[in-house]
């Protein structure tokens, strides 16, 4: 058979590799900034852009989509060519993919800093960027499948399956969760409201972890671990089972993010069951990775690449055991809304994603530059600094999360809550400090790596086009005896794509459709009314400043939460919430029932200087809300958009009446502030925010009154 000669494209891999290092440092810096801001809020420098509520999405987007995203593409572009024995499908598409993705990241960072956000965690980027992501993702897909189709190796190695599942599922998740109605160039409202929005969002959020942070990196593990250890994967069969089981089960587990919330119970139970089931394939994969090193542990002692990979795989195992345990309702009662969750995700992020990326970089770069690593010792130092960093990061947060939860739930013998919310916060500040030291260590380790790799690059010669040879794929593949379905499918990437999509879509649809269709899931509460125009503006400000990143709006049906915040939240309260703002973390207290709890002047003073109202508070000052004037030119468009989404404002309300109502409500709040000797100026943003905060949870409080009145 004729042997064909061809070249692998290393240039694209190189660019993605540079991007990984650059965005990794940027993302970790943003994370460190946010971590320090949690005990030193003055770090915001009095600027909106550098305040926690905006730095946190910058951090999460940078590390997830920029650092890990570029890590996926680096690893895929390197391994796919070699596994398929062909060059990438199109150099032009590779280039568009690379620059398109970097442009999205830059646009994302700028808009997030500017406060342009959808207010949905991990999907904060606004609609024009959402469209750009979809376009670039499709370009990546064409390149991916084009390469697979043109392959010279008939067998599709397990890593490629993971890449295929990643592409298909992320495309679906991104599109479904990003359905939103644009109000202006940089503002949109989620198509879904309240409970539905929450379900879709956490279906997305959970599966972003599954199919953006896990499956592509498992693909990388199945390629780079055997290569680095120079021995085949422990069990190839196990890897096949791992793949199928994982893609099928993962998609169902999303509701475990919404336990004890207003989500229907059956959906919660379903999420829990599938989460527990996930332990099996996840641990199968972890053991498959670790057992690959059987008889080669002496190499781990020597080779920094293997050290990083071993810790990465171990962290994958830890996080995928902890995740299902956290999704048990009894454990979730304690862990949810606390720093425990943050510790959990960072075992995955710092350990699994971070260390695997570092391992791959240390392995790839010397090879592509045809040289050896500049300093093995320095890489070893990075390994130890990074590992200690992870430990110092996670343990204090586990401690903080558990402690705070126990304090929240503590009652005196007389049946009173023992601790004020603020006491539970100030108590864990030392843990926050230690956490930031752990993060700083991890970041300095990454900086060592950048230095080490820069030196490696300096002493090597880059091979832009790497020569290789292989026989072309025969037209008809000879089969030995009977063919089996699995054999058939693994030679057909397009069919494989369709089957994966069907498997994943069935999971998603069965879970979503009933909630949409079954009206009884969201009992309507007659006293729940749409927001007034001023409140709607306030809500936009609430979203813009990222308040939901520290304050939940979801009172769970527990004794302590009802005692602390009031009546537990009902599904029907959120029917006009586009998007929902339940939150996932209580760095500050829940706000679902904050309306009417304090006078307007309290909110004004509190936003100006939180410590003046709550001494010891770690909330930053939002002084700019007192200066910025409310952009009332948007009112009409906002109301019209909400009407399109089904919020029952009267006909023609947007044209004239909305503006009048807005001015009237401003005047009421202004006069109440004046009564407390505060000259706010009625057209300031703070007035709108106060209007929104004072509305929260009020509708349901008025429900019983209405009933008695009607009797």
């Amino acid at each position: 058979m004729e042997i064909e000669k061809f070249y692998y494209d290393n240039k694209t891999v190189k660019w993605f590799g540079y991007a990984v290092m650059f965005w990794g440092i940027v993302g970790m810096l943003a994370g460190l900034w946010a971590a320090i801001a949690m005990y030193y809020p003055a770090l915001n420098l009095g600027l909106p852009a550098t305040t926690f509520g905006r730095m946190r999405p910058v951090h999460t987007n940078a590390v997830v989509f920029a650092f890990v995203g570029n890590g996926i593409f680096m690893g895929v572009y390197y391994s796919l060519q070699r596994l398929c024995k062909t060059r990438m499908f199109s150099d032009t598409l590779s280039k568009i993919h690379f620059w398109g993705w970097q442009l999205i990241i830059v646009a994302g960072a700028i808009t997030l800093w500017a406060g342009k956000t959808t207010g949905k965690e991990y999907a904060e980027l606004e609609w024009p960027i959402d469209i750009a992501i979809a376009v670039v993702w499709i370009i990546f897909g064409i390149n991916l499948f084009g390469t697979i189709i043109r392959r010279r190796e008939s067998h599709i190695y397990v890593a490629i399956w993971f890449y295929i599942a990643t592409w298909v599922t992320v495309a679906m998740l991104h599109i479904v969760n990003s359905i939103e109605l644009p109000v202006s160039m940089w503002k949109s409202y989620s198509w879904y409201a309240g409970v539905q929005d929450a379900l879709v969002q956490w279906w997305y959020g959970h599966n972003a972890v599954a199919f953006f942070l896990t499956t592509p990196y498992l693909g990388l593990m199945y390629y780079f671990l055997p290569k680095a250890a120079n021995r085949p994967i422990y069990s190839y069969r196990l890897s096949i089972i791992h793949f199928w089981a994982l893609i099928f089960i993962y998609i169902w587990a999303g509701p475990h993010h919404l336990l004890y919330t207003a989500l229907p119970d059956w959906a919660q139970s379903l999420g829990v069951v599938f989460s527990i089931m996930l332990i099996a394939p996840s641990w199968g994969g972890m053991l498959n990775g670790l057992f690959t090193l059987r008889g080669a542990w002496d190499k781990v002692k020597e080779d920094p690449v293997l050290k990083f990979l071993v810790v990465a795989i171990t962290c994958y195992g830890m996080a995928t055991l902890e995740g299902p345990l956290l999704s048990l309702k009894s454990v979730n009662t304690i862990s949810h809304f606390t720093d425990w969750t943050i510790a959990h995700v960072h075992i995955g992020a710092l350990g699994w994603n971070g260390f695997l990326t570092f391992g791959v970089l240390y392995w790839l770069i010397p090879r592509m530059w045809n040289t050896t690593l500049y300093s093995k010792k320095l890489a070893g130092t990075h390994f130890w600094i990074g590992t200690i960093g992870i430990v110092l990061y996670a343990i204090p947060l586990y401690w903080a999360g558990f402690t705070q939860s126990m304090m929240w739930k503590n009652f005196t013998e007389e049946g009173q809550l023992r601790f004020q919310f603020l006491e539970t916060v100030t108590h864990i500040i030392p843990m926050y400090v230690t956490r930031s030291i752990g993060g700083a260590l991890y970041l300095s380790g990454a900086l060592l790596m950048v230095y080490n790799l820069r030196k490696t690059i300096a002493k090597g010669n880059f091979i832009a086009n790497e020569a290789a040879e292989a026989a072309p794929l025969p037209k008809k593949i000879p089969t030995h005896g009977k063919t089996y379905w699995h054999r058939w499918i693994e030679r057909r990437p397009m069919q494989m794509l369709v089957f994966s999509l069907i498997a994943v879509a069935i999971g998603g649809m069965i879970e979503l459709i009933p909630t949409f269709l079954v009206k009884s899931n969201i009992p309507t509460i007659s006293s729940v009314k749409p927001y007034t125009p001023l409140e709607l503006h306030g809500r936009d400000i609430y979203i813009r400043e990222g308040c939901y990143l520290c304050h939940s709006q979801m009172v769970r049906p527990f004794r302590d939460e009802v005692a602390r915040y009031g009546e537990y939240s009902k599904a029907g309260e959120f029917v006009y919430d586009h998007p929902f703002q339940w939150g996932s973390k209580r760095t500050g207290p829940d706000l679902a029932r904050v309306g009417g709890k304090y006078p307007d002047s309290w909110h004004y003073n509190h936003m100006l200087d939180p410590t003046s109202m709550s001494p010891g508070s770690i909330m930053p000052s939002y002084v700019w809300l007192m200066d910025h004037e409310l952009d009332t030119s948007r009112t009409g468009a906002m109301i019209r958009a909400m009407r399109k989404l089904g919020v029952p404002y009267p006909d023609g309300y947007a044209a004239d009446q909305a503006g009048k109502d807005l001015a009237r409500q401003e005047a009421v709040i202004d006069s109440s502030l004046r009564a407390d000797k505060i000259q706010a100026g009625r057209n300031k943003e703070i007035v709108a925010l106060i209007a929104y905060l004072q509305r929260l949870g009020k509708d349901i409080k008025e429900a019983p009154k209405e009933q008695t009145a009607s009797k």
């Binding site: 190839y236 096949i240 059956w266 091979i463 790497e466 020569a467 290789a468 009933p514």
Partner: protein, 59 residues
Amino acid sequence: MSAIILLLIASLSVAVVFLGAFIWSVKHHQFDDGFSPPRRILFDDPPVENIPDQSINKK
């Protein structure tokens, strides 16, 4: 509650199909040649030097 029953039926039947396919494939020696693919990836390293007409023997 009809929704959860629907869900259980749907999810269990799909799970059963997958389990059945797995048992079937194991019984039919489906993964017997799972030996070569994991090894093959180790030996396809291209030449480290970029000499245009250097030939390597594979397979």
